[in-house]
Subunit: 324 residues, 2 copies
Amino acid sequence: MSLSTPFTDLVSIEHPIALAPMGGSAGGALAAAVSDGGGLGLVGGGRGDRGWLERELAIVRARTGKPWGVGFLTWAIDIDTMMWALGQHPHAVMLSFGDPGPFAARVRAADVPLIIQVTDLEEAQRAVDVGADLIVAQGSEAGGHGGRRATLPFVPIVVDLAAPTPVLAAGGIADGRGLAAVLALGAAGALIGTRFQASHEAIVPAQVSKAIISGHGADTERTRVLDIARGSGWPAKYTARVLRNAYVDRWRDREEELADDHEALRAYNRAVDDIDTDAISIWCSDAIDLINEVDSATDLVRQLASDASAALARVAGSARTTGC
Amino acid sequence: MSLSTPFTDLVSIEHPIALAPMGGSAGGALAAAVSDGGGLGLVGGGRGDRGWLERELAIVRARTGKPWGVGFLTWAIDIDTMMWALGQHPHAVMLSFGDPGPFAARVRAADVPLIIQVTDLEEAQRAVDVGADLIVAQGSEAGGHGGRRATLPFVPIVVDLAAPTPVLAAGGIADGRGLAAVLALGAAGALIGTRFQASHEAIVPAQVSKAIISGHGADTERTRVLDIARGSGWPAKYTARVLRNAYVDRWRDREEELADDHEALRAYNRAVDDIDTDAISIWCSDAIDLINEVDSATDLVRQLASDASAALARVAGSARTTGC
């Protein structure tokens, strides 16, 4: 059984599952594996590093014949990079975090489905206004960068605002039950990140997948500390959910002081070189308690879809007709 | 159609919906109205004010022949009050916020179903250990007091931990889609508060129901400011989600200073007397965007159940059998 939705129809895929285009870790291999499983693999184009993109888009094109796409950080990319990517014939382009205005018309003119991720109602309205084909309503449970609304209430509110534009849910979805739940909320599918970080195809150090597998959502928090430590330039509006560690504990609520502490910033850079999980950003979802092993991303897509169908069948099986 | 779950079986009700036992506002009339609609009405026994309880339990007993219950703040009640309430023949007793240990055995000895609300995994394990018949996993989207985990990831994690004990979801559920979603997550139903605050039967000033109806989740936050202002004695672990107002803005991150500012505390008391919504606690859910009118609680229960069934039927209708 597969779950057909306006999202699966829009991009001609089997299962209503999209890979979150996680900068750096969602490369061509992971995107291709997700697409091969019947989902939509999205390469994490991030800020638009051309060398990285050329390599990873070549990989995704070589490895899958199924639809795939590419996602960018709206606040950081430039039009030229996006136009180059459009020339690689993606089946969707996703824009996240920042004003999509300067980019939206170009994507639509290329006749490529435009996906816009939003974190509050103002961004959702803006996505509708610029003509998004699909909106991702991302809740604050998400790993990595995002906003303040929680997925469960935020998704139906965006569904109502955006209708008839279809909406994907993101943030806190790591198993088939979560996918089933957001479909019941009215979403046309789920965009999933952290669950795919713990896959064979993600570009992540072993220390990071190990930390995700053994971690707990209660040990995550949203913070700007590590963005400041790495001099990332992220807009202050978007905090990142990370696994709490000694570096975060040390600099919490002292972000301005950190920005001026050159020794602390150098220490962070050394930690990155050493892949020291006591300091570096391990972006992950509030739902990591549900992630217990590293799997093949292709298998994961199929398992998520099959478990979602089973969860829905279980609930439907409990429905009984009564006299009232 | 009704949705049968281990919760509806446990307390012999029609719909998997429980009224959150909101102190002060969930009186006998509201609990009876919810029970009459086919849900489980729970009177908000709060700290156990005996005069209030005697009146409200008399009302619920007089007004409904259906199962009803009573909920208490575990950190604030005493055994005598709870034993007196058990003598009123409730069909369930719910304990929230604090160690249920001293109370659990007494409830079970009375052969009354014991419901324990939890906000983190340690509390969930404790609820299992003391023999809860039903566990409420409450997410931080909830209006009023609670913890830090978000409902969407927290519920399935508690379901796995507590199995085979059934779990209700709470926090951020304000319409039938939300109920359908938490059933898909594996919950046996939903415990709903704020949606029932905006009902004819809730004991709330008109200003409060008006604020809920016109408010937005983005204008809510979790805070201790108003608990300190009203000298409530709440354990610091549990913040409360309230509608942001001028008083919260003024004292945010200055809680210790507020506790010593007698003029500010007097000003809060005056605001309570005047029902001044620029200062008083208006506890409400992150999902209030979904609440747009004041309804009869009996009708609300039926509407929530019917909309949940429709949401599940909609998703099931999109499932199609494929060759794979």
